[in-house]
């Protein structure tokens, strides 16, 4: 057991070092205004390119929109003001994120609702499954009824013998 813990600790340490090396760039050395420009560019769509943000697209219009964003940021506009500027000219579809109002609210509201419904469905489904049995079991008076734990231990021994058991051994169960 000790051996395996050492191996795993060493592996974990190596993993941690690797992960830290990879994530060492903070981008703190990049001027604030460049970073703001990037995050805005990623939120604005290129109106003439199918499905690309102005950050992604190489289209000349996208390029000029990027320089407009940079210019306005230098002039002191806020991100929201710049977004509104583009929405006035191109409509709300120029924003990559659907606005959180009006009909677009449906875009945001439906997924969490769906997840809640799904979780609900899982619970109902599990409980329904627990109640349904296809084959009725006949227990006659000559049979011995075992407790659930005893049944479990026999199942495990059977499955182990058949090489089907694939879970770690649980020392707490009777064997």
């Amino acid at each position: 057991m000790k051996n395996s813990k050492t191996i795993l600790t060493v592996a974990l340490a190596a993993l941690a070092i690797l992960a830290l090396a990879c994530t060492s760039n903070t981008g703190d050395d990049i001027p604030e205004i460049e970073r703001k420009t990037h995050s805005l560019n990623k939120a604005i769509m290129c109106p003439v390119c199918p499905g690309e943000s102005i950050d992604q697209s190489q289209n000349p219009l996208a390029v000029s929109m990027r320089s407009i964003v940079a210019e306005k940021l230098t002039d002191g506009w806020t991100g929201d003001q710049i977004k509104d500027f583009f929405v006035e000219r191109y409509g709300p579809s120029v924003l990559l994120e659907p606005p959180r109002e009006g009909i677009s609210l449906a875009a945001w509201v439906l997924p969490p609702m769906a997840v809640v419904v799904a979780i609900f469905a899982v619970f109902i489904g599990l409980r329904w499954m627990r109640r349904t049995t296809a084959i009725p079991s006949a227990v006659t008076s000559e049979t011995t009824v075992l407790t659930l734990d005893e049944q479990e231990s026999y199942f495990r021994r059977i499955e182990a013998a058949l090489d089907l058991d694939d879970t770690p051994d649980d020392p707490s169960l009777p064997s």
């Binding site: 974990l12 830290l20 690309e52 709300p92 969490p112 979780i119 026999y154 879970t167």
Partner: protein, 662 residues
């Protein structure tokens, strides 16, 4: 002559496939093995006829026969003949032929395996696969014939779309298309079994699982290759944009991942019979939806190079198969009652169910986000864009939850687990997660979401690592040396350990995605020759541009000298090509890639005098995403490898033992 033979072959293939459908079905109805066999042979002959048609098309390309419309539209005299491969599937009609020949080849193998092991299911499965082929052939013969001739023969063709002329395009589209159409095979097996009245008998599960995993693997490779291509050639430094066509390829993948897991529950415990039918129907429907959106759906996308109104026909066929599947399912639902019973909410079975629901939730969110623009346009006249921020925000946590389940699921026993036993099994994985979390909180840059994500990955890896180490050691104690113990461990339980290898590759993929999504750093810089700039620890000097003229394009190569700290890394040469005839500019970034991070330069605009705008990126851990591909292939092959026949085992139990509920 050759073209005409090809056209004839297509018509004959249509007839042969039609015959295969009719003969298989009638053969079952009349209990006539001869009729079933002749239907099968009709199917086999379709494969040969499709080969003839494909050969005719290839010949037309190679001989520059511009009288054939498809050749004129997709090649030119100056096109190197090696690109014929890409041209075969670059356009609509050609890609139909490609789909047909590839699917028929896979289906040929499938029919061969099915008919030996599932004699009652085989005629139905063959008929369903033949129906898919029938659809493709009907579209080709009546609507989009790849071998149809033009009345006026042009002197030169239009040439091939320059974006396709990249190594990635030689493999991504064919692999992706193959993945989508091969989903029809596990679908045919499942539906065939259901139609044959074998829904309650789990004999189809082995082959269903095998072909489900094959379809899954091909779909995964298609997605990986597409991301890799986007990353290397599109020049914006990213690999996934939640673009409608990307989403349409992702959705069937999500369903198939759910399927290959839930099918294990049916194999092991005879449960989830109805659920598996539902999942495979969803998977096949989504695959067809994928083919529809790819061919020019109503949602705009960067992928729209094979645009046509043909897409709607695919939608029609998808509606047909969906309605038919539901009808069959409903009529045979009584045969699908489970054999086993769910005994506890805390068990492997419920973990699989939760995972399946989570995958379907991601698919739903993705579908919703993809079609919402259409919905909002019809409902309110305002077109809304749903882009990356939406998908990342909603799908991100769901996907992380799935990764979490990947760590907990294998630790749960079948039937029931106690909370105590689960916590005991989770000790080491949670400890590993805790250590990683602590280290990141103290030393790393503050990114709480990424930290949680890395912790989850560490949890999964620690669980797998612990089991491998323990398993190897217990074999070693019985006398094998460590190397042999490890190999025998993997080989003795191939589905399980193959699954572990695939999970490891998924963690590699996830790590790459987390690293590059949260820790990537970008600058857009205007540089003149001689300028030096820095980003992170990289220093790069723009030394100049060379220009190359070609008959179809103008290319500008920018040279950079790059240092990491004080180490000279070498010269990097990104370039930009402009194709005046197609009005397309294509950029190719220069990438210096290590397992730690990618340093990436791509040019976006050249002015006179050599001044240019460059995008420079540090993308951490992207290497791991591409490296995950080969590992995933190995894991899947291991999981699919046939096992030796199990030997009988005996165990004494008390007389009269009869536990309730079995």
């Amino acid at each position: 002559m050759i073209v005409e033979s090809g056209q004839l072959a297509l018509v004959l293939a249509l007839l042969a496939t039609g015959y295969a459908v009719v003969a298989s079905v009638m053969g079952v109805a009349r209990r006539s093995p001869e009729l079933v066999m002749s239907g099968r042979y009709g199917f086999y002959s379709t494969v040969i006829l499709l080969l003839v048609a494909t050969a005719a098309l290839v010949h037309a390309f190679v001989t520059n026969d511009f009288s054939v419309r498809y050749v004129a539209e997709n090649s030119s005299l100056s096109m190197p003949k090696a690109y014929t491969w890409v041209a075969l599937y670059a356009g609509n009609a050609g890609s139909m032929l490609f789909l047909a020949i590839i699917f028929s080849a896979f289906a040929l193998v499938a029919v061969g395996t099915i008919r030996k092991r599932l004699p009652y299911t085989a005629p139905y499965a063959t008929a369903i696969m033949a129906m898919v082929l029938l659809f493709l052939l009907a579209v080709m013969v009546f609507l989009a014939n790849p071998l149809s001739r033009l009345d006026v023969v042009p002197l030169d063709g239009q040439g091939i779309n320059p974006l396709l002329v990249h190594f990635g395009m030689f493999i991504h589209p064919p692999v992706q298309m193959t993945g989508l159409i091969v989903v029809a095979i596990p679908f045919s097996i499942a539906m065939g079994a259901l139609l044959a009245g074998k829904g309650g008998n789990d004999e189809w599960v082995d082959l269903g699982r095998t072909w489900g995993m094959i379809a899954w693997l091909i779909l995964t490779l298609g997605l990986l290759l597409g991301s890799w291509w986007a990353y290397t050639i599109l020049g914006w430094g990213g690999y996934w944009a939640w673009d409608p066509v990307e989403n349409s390829a992702l959705m069937p993948w999500l369903a198939m991942t759910a399927f290959v897991h839930s099918i294990m529950v049916q194999k092991r415990r005879g449960m989830f019979r109805m659920w598996n039918m539902v999942i495979i129907i969803i998977g096949f429907t989504l695959a067809q939806l994928g083919m529809f959106i790819n061919r020019g759906g109503p949602v705009p996308s960067v992928h729209s190079f094979a645009q046509s109104a043909m897409g709607w026909i695919f939608l029609g066929f998808m509606a047909f198969t969906l309605v038919a599947s539901i009808a069959v399912f409903v009529s045979k639902v009584d045969t699908l009652k489970s054999r086993g019973r769910l005994e506890s909410m805390l068990s492997r079975e419920s973990a699989f169910l939760a995972q399946n629901i989570a995958f379907l939730a991601v698919a739903f969110v993705t579908l919703w986000g993809t079609v919402f623009p259409i919905f909002s346009e019809t409902a309110s006249d305002v077109t809304i864009t749903v882009g990356q921020p939406f998908f990342n925000l909603v799908n991100g946590p769901l996907l992380l939850f799935i990764v979490f389940l990947m760590g907990v699921g294998p630790l749960l026993p079948w039937r029931r687990a106690t909370m105590g036993s689960l916590i005991r099994a989770l000790r080491i994985p949670l400890a590993a997660a805790g250590v990683i979390g602590l280290i990141f909180m103290i030393v790393g840059p503050r990114q709480p979401v990424a930290t949680v994500a890395f912790m989850t990955c560490a949890m999964v890896l620690a669980g797998i690592g612990h089991e491998w180490v323990r398993g190897t050691q217990s074999r070693h104690r019985k006398g094998e040396n460590y190397a042999k113990a490890f190999i025998m461990l993997l080989s003795a339980n191939r589905p399980r350990y193959g699954g572990y290898v695939v999970h490891i590759s998924i963690i590699m993929l996830a790590a790459g995605a987390i690293g590059s999504s949260f820790y990537s750093v970008q600058r857009d810089l205007v540089m003149s020759p001689g300028d030096t700039e820095t980003i992170g620890e990289y220093t790069f000097t723009y030394t100049g541009t060379t220009h190359q003229s070609h008959p179809d394009r103008e290319e500008d190569y920018a040279q950079f000298e790059v240092y990491s700290g004080d180490t000279y890394l070498g010269e990097m040469e990104p370039f930009r090509a402009v194709y005046p005839d197609f009005r397309i500019a294509s950029t190719r970034g220069a990438i210096h890639s290590t397992p730690i991070e990618d340093f990436y330069i791509v040019p976006s605009d050249f002015s006179d005098g050599g001044q240019a705008v460059f995008r420079v990126l540090i993308n951490p851990m992207v290497w791991w995403m591409w490296a995950s591909g080969p590992i995933m292939i190995l894991g899947t092959l291991l999981a699919l490898a046939p096992r030796r026949e199990p030997s009988p085992a005996t165990l004494r139990v008390p007389a009269g033992m009869r536990p309730a509920g079995v």
